[in-house]
């Protein structure tokens, strides 16, 4: 099977960048080789679909806006009514979800090729992300595991908080290189490491 190209191309330069004299504020990395599947329930099937996602992935969440869960490489979160993003490193994620969720429960759209996942981690993560997104990134407003749909100018992004100071950013593939440049620029002030 062919390997999925990174949309970041030669703009992905491993190493330390920006004002690293005062330390590394954030680390930036592309998460590769993930299966990214969108599941959408019908209005009356949301709890059933959440149970099905739980059985397919082991990640069980309640039906509340933006709720999510992270376990290692696997994650799930809601970002619109009845709509969830499920991510795992295993290639059979789509098959498992399709067998758990029939057409009368909801629909499945594989987005693996259409999204670039960037993990930003480190003490200055909230500071750097606040430059780009009009979201309250403080932990009491945006708890670990939760997801948000938002945008930076024209660039739509889904954001999941995967740890106290770490976030996964799901960026539309065709915008990813542009966004990566913007993110690096924003992180220069605090010093950042790629890789």
């Amino acid at each position: 099977m062919a390997e999925i190209d990174s949309p970041l191309g030669s703009n992905y330069i491993a190493g330390e960048h920006g004002n690293v004299a005062a330390g590394i504020g954030v680390s930036l990395a592309e998460r590769r080789n993930l299966s990214i599947i969108q599941v959408t329930a019908w209005p009356n099937t949301i709890p059933t679909v959440l149970t099905a996602i739980g059985s397919a992935t082991g990640l069980i969440i309640d039906n509340k806006p933006g709720l999510g869960r992270v376990a290692g490489e696997k994650s799930v979160f809601g970002f619109a009514p009845g709509r969830f993003l499920v991510t795992a490193a295993s290639a059979d994620l789509e098959t498992r979800l399709r067998s758990a969720i029939s057409a009368d429960l909801g629909t499945i759209v594989p987005l693996t090729h259409g999204r670039c996942v960037i993990r930003i981690a480190g003490p200055a993560s909230e500071w750097v992300l606040s430059k780009l997104f009009a979201l309250d990134f403080s932990e009491h407003a945006f708890a670990v595991g939760h997801g948000r749909a938002t945008l930076h100018h024209d660039i739509h992004a889904l954001i999941q908080r995967v740890d106290q100071d770490a976030f996964d950013l799901y960026i539309f593939r065709t915008f990813a290189r542009s966004f990566w440049t913007i993110l690096g620029h924003a992180a220069e002030e605090v010093g950042y490491r790629v890789g």
Partner: protein, 995 residues
């Protein structure tokens, strides 16, 4: 030497010296100095020339309200004009220059404008430049002629031509309480708010906290108030729930408790760390705002009040207490209220002598008398300043008897020597941010000032901004505003008691011809201008403002609004409250455009790249910005022009085979049991009848019957479709579909997902395209039986899964091949290598356009928001069997009119290119204006026809076919004969694509 550095005092760091340059001359100052304080310390009192009259001007205030001392800061090629010298902090190597003077500040030739005083009075531009209705100077022509001279003579600083290399950033912030200002009110309010555990942001415009406390002569808790304020601020800044921003001006107050602020992160630093922005634009969303913005002192208007050396009384105190600078060697004060006595008291404590205090009132308190006595100042009660005398800076003033009740000046003039006159006309609470997000300000007769209006959002005003004018009541007011639950312990204040109410005296008007009396120093608006506006009928404050430009300069009239209104009220013989006031608008102080643009410029502007982008670059493509997309325009060979390249590419497609990146097409995944029904409603033609594994060309209209978008939609399953849209309309089509599902047909069970980014697409077109596919596609046949026109197969190229649909935009036998975007380049390279034996060429947007123009296929240039299906000869797509969006309004008279523009082809008869946008006219000779009966939407050279051709929208299009006309583009000097032909200019029968 007039002004000078005192031996002690101020928050400047005297042990360190900073070197800077003003108007080419080197000066020194200390850390903590502003440009204004450092220059005053060096004895410099002349800072600039005025806006209209080029009068010499000095420093008038000590803070952000400064109207006069505007300078340009210069960093190499980069110029930042109109910076207030009272706010610019100096650093080593700072270069500043004065403004609006020619050739130099000392000798300004334009100062002759003063002699022509009446010429520049209120309404000057309207009266002078509204030309006659006829003749060579009709309308605005005289203005056009004079403009460049006037622009040079009048104005502020000049911006540079060099790009600003600085970095600006945006920061989004959220809090429960935002406190604006850190004077006594702000500090106490912030302390009480923070004690409740709320998330608090504190914003202070100046480099240090404390506000009035920094220069106050009072004692707080028995201690120096500046030290008390600094310690309180440090305590607050150390709390985990507080963010304390200094050098941060909150400049806008918007709907929903959103406030905008500029933080001057590095303006004052000679060197910045890597990645550090010069300014940071904060957008703060808060639960509640406490506006502790203090008050501005305002002047009294009197003849000659603009001389360098005349300044606000409190500014004299601030220079002494904050910067250790005496603004003059022989200081006089002129007042209508008690606050000037507090200035006198503080100055004499600091060792700065006061020669004379002139007070318009006859009856003042014992406290005030005692202060004058202790300061050793001569007290002239019931007097006013009626003239000033100066060379480059103030040398003396004329004083006369004044009756504050009648406003009459009388008695013999007396000349008093002084080089610095501190003026106080009372205080105006700084209600700018409150006014931006509130109702009409309310006039307070006692304070002679406007108070904050009724709040429309969750904000409160605290301290002197709320009209509390002494430190004790400021502190107790602020403590109640910080939190309803929690109250701070208030410190003790040791201060004399003053009366906050000024005498209602705004202007001193001696009889006879006198010197100009300025109200708005920055725009050179005089008291006479306001009275002239009144006589000419411009009475309302809104008219007054626009006719005289009062308050319209960069300082927005911080010191001039109330005196201006008072003078108009006096002229109209009505109370000020009846004269009303204008509403304040953002920004509170000027904001640089760079800070607002933030990171959205240059390389950091968002853009979109197709999955095959890097291949295009390595193949030497010339890229083209199409919206946010970067797309190949041509793949030029060395020495080829753009035209030669696209002609070669298009010809190769017709002769053998070409390949083009179509990944930019909008793609929407449509799933659900009602998907087919939904498509029947949104498309003009039927989709429920489309078999699985087939595609159909679809047309969408708007509700008003006008064409909206077109594209092919593929049925991938019983309940699953893949819709493609034009590149430009991908977003709008998605919104259109979502609107109908959410708002009109919520009962339909359909899910929509944008999958534009999921798929890479390549269109392979030309007579040899099938042969290319046959040589590389596995897992499915691609012959005519397996893959007929509009058929779809799932197959593989190498190990890449692909979907192939046989459809054609070029008019040739053609296929669109899709795969996962991450495999896009691999698929593309596989197709190129499979096509090489067949002479395949990649082609760009120009050739794509050429092929579709030859075929008369429409795109956004023809689907322009005005054309109907009938206009574009697409009425065959309008189903009669079902209603669809737009069907109800299609039949309207105007949409059926024979006079409508409709699509035709044009062939150039003089073998010259036809310009896009040309008008279609009947006249053989170029003429302006001419009757246009159509326009060119797209044009190219057609290799298939061997002619320059175009598509056009032309009146009575179909009946014009065969007629001759002219394509006229007078802007680009082109006017040439064309023949109107059918829009199907090539292969009308469509035999090639079915081949």
């Amino acid at each position: 030497m007039t002004s000078s550095r005192l031996n002690t005092g101020g928050r400047i760091e005297r042990s360190r010296t900073i070197r800077f340059i003003f108007d080419g001359k080197a000066y020194t100052g200390h850390p903590g100095d502003t440009l204004a304080s450092a220059l005053l310390a060096n004895g410099v009192t002349l800072f600039g020339r005025s806006f209209k009259y080029h009068r010499p001007r000095g420093v008038f205030a000590a803070g952000s309200e400064e109207p006069n001392a505007l300078v340009t800061l210069i960093d190499g090629e980069v110029r930042e004009p109109n910076v207030r010298a009272t706010e610019a902090e100096i650093h080593d190597g700072l270069v500043a220059e004065s403004q609006n003077r020619f050739p130099s500040l000392e000798h300004d030739l334009m100062a002759v404008n003063q002699l022509a005083g009446p010429l520049f009075s209120a309404g000057f531009y309207y009266k002078t430049f509204m030309g006659p209705a006829i003749g060579p100077l009709r309308g605005t022509r005289f203005w056009m002629f004079c403009e460049k001279f006037i622009r040079r003579a009048a104005g502020l600083g000049r911006a540079g031509m060099a790009a600003d290399p600085d970095r600006y950033e945006r920061m989004n912030a959220y809090c429960d309480v935002l406190v604006v200002g850190t004077g006594p009110a702000g500090l106490i309010a912030a302390e009480t708010a923070a004690a409740t555990g709320a998330r608090v942001i504190i914003a202070e415009e100046r480099p240090v906290a404390g506000g009035s406390l920094v220069s106050s002569g009072e004692l707080i808790d028995g201690r120096n108030p500046a030290v008390w304020a600094r310690e309180k601020a440090e305590l607050l800044a150390g709390l985990p729930n507080v963010r304390f921003l200094t050098r941060t001006t909150v400049w806008g107050h918007y709907d929903g408790n959103v406030l905008a602020a500029i933080e001057h992160v590095a303006d004052f630093k000679p060197n910045r760390t890597e990645g550090q922005p010069r300014q940071r634009h904060w957008v703060i969303r808060t639960g509640k705002t406490i506006l502790a913005t203090g008050a501005f002192e305002r002047p009294i208007v009197f003849p000659g009040n603009d001389r360098p050396g005349v300044m606000l009384a409190d500014a004299v105190r601030r220079f002494a207490m904050e910067y250790g600078v005496a603004a003059g060697s022989n200081i006089a004060l002129f007042t209508n209220n008690d606050s000037a006595y507090d200035v006198a008291r503080t100055l004499s404590q600091a060792g700065v002598g006061i020669g004379t205090i002139i007070d318009v009132r006859t009856d003042i308190s014992g406290t005030c008398r005692d202060i004058a006595d202790v300061a050793g100042a001569e007290l002239l009660l019931g007097h006013a300043v009626t003239a000033t005398h100066a060379g480059k800076t103030l040398s003396s003033i004329t004083v006369q008897h004044f009756n504050a009740q009648t406003g009459r000046v009388s008695g013999a003039p007396r000349e008093i020597k002084t080089d610095c006159l501190g003026v106080s006309g009372g205080w105006s609470p700084a209600i700018h941010l409150a006014s931006q997000a509130g109702g009409k300000p309310e006039w307070d007769e006692d304070l002679q000032a406007f108070l904050a209006p009724e709040a429309h959002q969750n904000w409160v005003v605290a301290g002197s901004a709320a009209g509390y004018m002494d430190t004790i009541s400021v502190l107790s007011d602020a403590a109640t505003k910080g939190s309803a639950k929690h109250r701070a312990a208030l410190p003790t204040v040791d201060a004399p008691m003053f009366d906050a109410s000024p005498a209602p005296v705004y202007q001193i008007e001696p009889d006879g011809k006198t010197q100009k009396a300025f109200v708005d120093l920055q725009h050179d608006v005089t008291a006479d201008d306001i009275r002239l506006a009144y006589r000419e009928g411009f009475h309302s404050v809104e008219h007054l403002k626009r006719y005289t430009t009062l308050g319209m300069a960069t300082d927005q009239g911080k010191t001039s609004n109330v005196p201006g209104l008072a003078i108009m009220a006096d002229a109209r013989q009505i109370p000020i409250t009846a004269a009303g006031t204008t509403r304040f608008r953002p920004p509170f102080t000027p904001v640089s455009l760079g800070a607002l643009a933030g990171e959205r410029y240059g390389d950091l502007r968002p853009h979109r790249l197709t999955p095959i982008h890097d291949w295009h670059l390595s193949a030497g493509a010339t890229m083209y910005d199409a919206g946010l997309w970067h797309r190949p325009m041509i793949y030029g060979s060395p020495g080829e022009t753009i035209e030669q390249a696209y002609i070669r590419e298009a010809r190769t497609v017709r002769d053998s085979v070409g390949i083009v990146d179509v990944s930019t097409l909008g793609k929407i995944d449509i799933q659900g049991p009602d998907a087919a029904e939904f498509l029947d409603r949104v498309y003009t033609n039927m989709f429920s009848t489309l078999p699985i594994g087939k595609a159909r060309y679809g047309l969408m209209l708007r509700e008003d019957g006008i064409v909206f978008d077109d594209g092919t939609t593929w049925r991938l399953g019983q309940d699953q479709f893949l819709m493609t849209t034009t590149t430009a309309n991908a977003g709008p089509v998605m919104q259109h579909l979502e609107y109908y599902l959410d708002c009109i047909w919520p009962d339909l069970r359909v899910h929509l997902t944008s999958v534009t980014d999921v798929w890479a697409g390549a269109a392979i077109a030309g007579p040899k395209s099938r042969a290319v596919l046959e040589s590389c596609v596995t897992a499915s046949k691609v012959d005519d039986a397996t893959l007929p026109f509009m058929g779809i197969v799932h197959a593989r190229i190498g190990d890449i899964p692909v979907m192939i649909c046989r459809l054609s935009f070029s008019g040739e036998l053609a296929y669109e091949v899709y795969c996962g975007a991450g495999f896009g380049t691999a698929m593309w390279e596989a197709l190129i290598s499979a096509g090489t034996p067949f002479g395949i060429v990649p082609y760009g947007l120009e050739a794509l356009g050429t092929l579709r123009i030859e075929k008369g296929h429409v795109t956004g240039a023809e689907i322009d928001g005005r054309t109907t299906a009938h206009d574009l000869h697409l009425d065959w797509m309008l189903s009669k069997k079902k209603p669809f969006i737009g069907s109800a309004m299609l039949g309207r008279e105007g949409l059926q009119d024979n006079n409508r523009l409709s699509l035709v082809g044009l062939i150039s008869l003089d073998n010259q290119p036809i310009n896009g946008g040309s008008h279609i006219v009947a006249d053989a000779t170029p003429r302006e204006p001419a009757d246009s009966f159509g326009h060119v939407t797209a044009a190219c050279y057609s290799p298939a026809l061997g002619k320059y051709v175009a598509l056009a929208l032309v009146k009575h299009g179909s009946s014009m076919i065969g007629r001759r006309a002219y394509a006229s583009d007078l802007l680009r000097d082109k006017h040439g004969p064309v023949e109107i032909v059918s829009h199907h200019m090539f292969d009308r029968e469509g035999s090639r694509m079915h081949g």
